[in-house]
Symmetry: C2
Subunit: 208 residues, 2 copies
DNA sequence: CTATTAATGTGGATGCTGACAACATGCTAT
DNA sequence: ATAGCATGTTGTCAGCATCCACATTAATAG
């Protein structure tokens, strides 16, 4: 009894074919433009020309969609950061600096994803996957930190604290650099300069 | 004791008497327990034993309520930080350290308020008031930073960058210390220790 | 002290959203 | 071919934000 459909969509197949991925993509799009609060499963479905409850097949609810985005985001952040470390060569200090810089840049370059993983309402739903990624992140980072400490950078500061300083700086920079209030309040806030400045003070090139 | 209770119990007055303030209070309560996403004007109205559209008289919509909370939060954060600076005495380094520590503590001690002012969906609605508070915050901070630089702390680093480092550390620490994922992932994460450690590295007591 | 007005709270209506259930379609393997 | 499964559709319901007309109280002017 589906003649009505053919009138509505001429060349459309019944199945969308790639709904899950496109849901995530357009969701990230919407978040980047209007924020997490503006996200609506029904609006997403409309945008993709699909019935209002089609997303249910892929994400039981809104929290699950955001959770999936968070997982992908964390994985992307991890690989980006670790890759930058390896590309930086063998000098431990250079490697650590490259990792910190890459991680900060990732947040600035992926505003929407960063906003999602920094959202408490989302991170409250984090599962084992996310925690494993963060554990891996900690391992990679602490290895690099130990290497840099071998070159007399903060040699007697506990590794966990150095790691936390890095994370805190990254997350804080992401918050400040993407927050419209700070961006408007502070004159000439250039992301690259701030990132360089912070990395220099976290892990200085010269001995301190 | 409070008027609200009498209204709830038997002495049914038509007017609530203090609805605006109690809306804010219980909203902060809810946010602290369940997060911003769980906030609902109707649920607030129910909790306060008032009709579902009574809040409209005080806040046109949810965004306006959150905006009001943000304003109060910023003001509270400013005065707490500035007061701590004055109480720390005349030594500029001590003063700056006290301010940074107080600001971090404020975020940790006021999880819900901190969550609100770090929420991009909320800060997008920030008005002149909030921006003026932040401008005042910058003035107070940069004065303290200039004083500390007179004692050879980061003497040739631009004031704005030192200020931003402080803000970034504060905001980042707030994010990390209140994020369940990080709290669970990292072993024995003590807020006080981390704050002390970060303040020591931001504004060291000894010359560096 | 009273009458008028502004502030505050009520109740109902509408439209959007999340969530669930029953049904339809197309792919794949046997 | 056909059974089973993944995917998409329609229908429905409850919760919520928001708007509106109306009721009650508080404040104030005369």
């Amino acid at each position: 009894m589906s003649v009505a459909y053919d009138v509505l969509n001429d060349d459309d197949t019944y199945h969308h074919g790639n709904l899950r991925d496109e849901l995530i993509d357009t969701a990230v799009d919407v978040i980047g433009r209007e924020g997490v609060a503006a996200l609506s499963l029904r609006a997403l479905a409309r945008d993709l020309g699909v019935s209002h409850s089609a997303p249910t097949r892929h994400f039981k609810n809104k929290a699950e969609l955001l959770s999936a985005i968070m997982e992908e985001a964390y994985e992307d952040m991890l690989t980006t950061t670790v890759d930058a470390g390896y590309l930086a060569g063998d000098n431990p200090v250079h490697r650590l600096r490259a990792m910190a810089r890459a991680c900060m840049r990732w947040h600035v370059d992926n505003r929407a994803l960063s906003e999602v993983i920094r959202n408490p309402d989302v991170s409250r739903t984090a599962g084992r996957n996310v925690k494993e990624v963060l554990a891996a992140f900690y391992i990679h980072s602490s290895r690099a930190i130990l290497g840099a400490q071998g070159q007399s950078r903060n040699p007697d500061r506990p590794v966990e604290f150095v790691y936390l300083s890095m994370i805190v700086s990254v997350v804080g920079a992401a918050s400040v650099l993407t927050d419209p209030v700070y961006v408007e309040t502070l004159p000439a806030l250039d992301a690259d300069e701030l990132i360089d400045d912070m990395v220099d003070h976290l892990f200085p090139l010269k001995d301190g």
